[in-house]
Symmetry: C2
């Protein structure tokens, strides 16, 4: 017997309708590629999104067609989020940090029909334009005055011209909530990129969960500045959450340096921000160097990779900004866990509390998680035992776009490729990527802990810990280190630095100093390359 | 084209699984009918719910069967919430304040198979037992020691015996999220009661929305005490929200007097509570008389009827407890709007802010609302124009159980029967029930405003304002008043009290003093009876 409730599909367009109707006066502020600050309300955003929906239809985009973007965080990108998905087409956010070859490969694989791009990316677009197979129109996300005077792109269109020519009358269509809404490719360090194809249902459910008090805690009283890019898993869902709750949104555009961000934080009275640790480092350096502070920002959500403890202390102790660790993946829309403390943990002293905050956190309702051993059996939640993290839930992928890589699920669970432990309070801590873990004599050594210790040494700029082949133990940890400019540091000094900080047998066998560690498009260290390069280092040294 | 996300149905059992897995140590504290305080964790609640699911199956309850309760707020009632709905059966919360005839009528209409009841309601159950047609088993929600020694109920079962005999191994079944989960009858003041049949989908979506920061704002840091009964629209969804977020729950059982509640608030460190104004009046009286305060409670959610401004002032100014107005209906699961202020409104001075807080609030995402005139056309959101409030959304009924009363929707919208205005910020204020509004010469006069003014007079205990027939204006307002014990008050004095507080033509034409105003089962004034009694009062007086 079914309940007798209204059948209203969960649609992304409803988020925009709600924002317009209930928070029409709320602001969306953007620092533009053009350099100035642009302000509009949700009411205007909604009206322009309707115009854009008409314009997109005019470009021949139909239900299910892919519309690509190469764009920063800004109001025009947000209009595309709603206009494209709301129309029943699929928004495909391309990562502009990828190599042109990868952009071509992904655009072809996605069969993108139209590409919208910020002016910054004109050279990239020009480099790929005559190689991509399916894109039939290119739109520069700017106004007539800022259009490039000469471009080798044939028939380049102007975003504001398209909008001006379109009607603002548009009825958002209603359709099955399982309809595809957006597409985001993972930046795999090996193999071809794979696409996560989100649905309206998964996006709206994710938005509800992400906005909860113990998750990202979004309300109409917040001013949210997503530093995390809108081309990186939908800026962790914040452009959707902001509409759901009517929060003020502030977009930084391409200006992610400490000075630009700090000006926006203060000028727009930002209360909460979100991004990866590397961006915060630049911000903190600027704030420290200029004796500044944060007068309204009270929370910063950090994900992508673990927040170094020193950064956490700086934010919390010096600037009264709470650091909220979150963990997710492209395949998870992305939010899986958030490290919001339970009441008991709020009573811990500083260092103990920091120990909990260093974890990736507890799952939001909707994400079910477990850790499993090599045999697939579930492991205990004791805060010590590590295993591969498996997740399931309505905003987690069932398969990749076009079934790339085959069925990724194991008994209905998505294997994250992360190695983690979970404590008795349900707080999960990533100890490694499954492929980065070092298997020494049958025991697992997590590379992240070792890297964090190395990074805490004042002379270390960057450190990667990798598995190197070993005659007796199969694998042993090898540390690859970039020294800070001008700093002196020997192998012996650095290894001595590990004493007392970790089990003795976890201590790396050797240290290699290099000038640079290769980074991927999202700033992650490409440890697979280091593994190839240094695979036989210990064998040769022995 | 569909997205490629996991198809996980939204099920009530997932809330319990989440609470057990991620908040297993969190407490559920209940003041029992037996008089003592009972404590258990979510882990124990989950285990007992699995036992109960086995026991309920053992009573012959199958998929879609209705299981009735007559019970206070307590852990056994909560176990029934999860065991019955989680099994795929339907939990039917009967209102014990109804007349036995109504209980029989509703139980028959619902075709309840089993009735679980708190010992308090043994006399009521005995009064209806041989009249109800479909109930084949009666279960007293107590242990063996407290079982009634003699009862005329045939084969009366003992709750704790059933649990003790059942296994705690039970796999919650997976099924279509549109499956019926629970049933709640409206306490209509006219006509037969009608049932709202909720689904798992509607309940889980409602829970997400209700827990949001700008709605009921539920987190693991909260200790929630729902005074609003679990037989009254699922205690506004708090038993579900608490599991979703891992909040501590405190159940007051039958002890709703000020002293008992205050003891629980303080003893269990309650942070947020929810109930109707009448309960809070008793609490405030007790706190004032004994010079007490609230050391942990910071928010109280008030719904059911409007919170008198004097009560709001007392909570906020004297005790630092924020009053949060909420509005909903049985047909809405129930949450529709919550009066959480926007940033601009937080800067208002005390009286202006109180003016906003007196409204029923703004809609949570998922509930779409509008006001319409007699012709069905949408009216403007100007904070002045009143019309009938219409709502739609995934946790709003499409029809009543067994199609009672036919199709209630108008173009897909549910007509609430409330008359309201909506201001430019989207804040809705109920000005009357549609059937209570006074139509004077083609203009509408809201009865609630007039009652609030009368209630503010120190000599008035209760006041109802009703439409009485009028020779010239069709209808004119008539005030029916109960004086406070020992207080003196004349018609002229009371009418003079309205001067300057309201448009002159809104002033009631006359005052009738009575000893008592008839109340319905949920404490609402039965104004239709007064209308019948005093219909011709003004004609006769003229």
């Amino acid at each position: 017997m079914n309940g007798l409730m209204q059948q209203q599909p969960l649609l992304i367009s409803n988020l925009l309708i709600h924002a317009e109707r209930h928070h029409g006066e709320q602001e969306v502020v953007s620092r533009r590629v053009e350099g100035d600050i642009h302000r509009q309300t949700y009411r205007e955003l909604a009206r322009r999104s309707r115009r854009l929906a008409n314009a997109v239809a005019g470009l021949g985009i139909g239900f299910g067609d892919r519309v690509a973007t190469l764009a920063w965080n800004g109001y025009r990108h947000m209009e595309l989020y709603y206009a494209v998905s709301g129309s029943g087409a699929v928004l495909h956010t391309l990562n502009p940090r990828l190599h042109p070859d990868q952009v071509v490969w992904i655009a072809d694989h996605a069969e993108d029909q139209v590409l919208f791009f910020d002016l910054t990316f004109l050279p990239l677009v020009e480099a790929v334009a005559d190689r991509v197979k399916t894109i039939k129109a290119f739109v520069a996300m700017t106004d007539r005055a800022h259009m490039p005077t000469s471009s080798k792109l044939p028939g380049l269109l102007c975003y504001e011209d398209l909008l001006a020519a379109a009607s603002d009358q548009f009825s958002w269509p209603s359709f099955d909530e399982n309809t595809a809404s957006s597409l985001c490719y993972t930046s795999g360090t090996t193999g071809n990129p794979k696409g996560a194809l989100y649905s309206h249902r998964s996006t709206v459910l994710h938005t509800y969960a992400a906005a909860l008090p113990d998750a990202l805690n979004c309300s109409a009283r917040d001013t949210i500045l997503p530093v995390v890019p809108m081309f990186h898993v939908n800026a962790w869902g914040l452009p959707y959450a902001a509409c759901m709750v009517g929060a003020k949104l502030v977009f930084p555009g391409p200006f992610l340096d400490g000075k630009s961000l700090h000006e926006l934080f203060e000028g727009e009275r930002v209360t909460v921000s979100a991004g990866v640790p590397t961006v915060w480092q630049g911000l903190l350096t600027h704030v420290e160097a200029n004796n500044l502070g944060f007068s309204t920002m009270r929370r910063t959500i950090i994900g992508g990779s673990a927040c170094p403890p020193a950064m956490m202390r700086a934010f919390q102790d010096r600037y009264d900004v709470t650091v909220l660790h979150a963990w997710g993946m492209t395949e998870l829309s992305p939010v899986g866990t958030v490290c919001t403390l339970k009441p008991r943990q709020l009573e811990l002293n500083g260092e103990q509390r920091l120990g909990v905050q260093a974890k990736q956190g507890r799952s939001v309702f909707g994400v079910d998680m477990k850790i499993v051993g090599d045999d697939g059996a579930e492991l205990p939640w004791d805060g010590k035992t590590s295993g591969e993290l498996m997740v399931r839930g309505p905003w987690i992928i069932a398969s990749y776009f076009k079934n790339a890589g085959g069925d990724p699920l194991v008994d209905g669970w998505f294997p994250t490729g992360d190695v983690a432990n979970i404590d008795t309070d349900g707080f999960m801590q990533i100890t490694d990527r499954a492929k980065d873990v070092i298997k020494s004599g049958g025991e697992w050594i997590g590379s992240i802990d070792l890297e964090n210790i190395a990074m805490a040494h004042p002379a270390v700029a960057m450190a990667a810990c990798i598995a190197a082949k070993h005659a007796k133990w199969d694998e042993r940890p090898l540390l690859v280190v970039v020294r800070k400019p001008g700093a002196e540091l020997t192998r012996q000094e650095l290894l001595a630095f590990f004493e007392g900080k970790i089990a003795k047998w976890w201590t790396p066998d050797d240290v290699v100093f290099v000038d640079a560690i290769p980074l991927g498009a999202t700033g992650k260290m490409l440890k697979n390359r280091l593994r190839e390069q240094f695979a036989d280092h210990l064998l040769n040294a022995a």
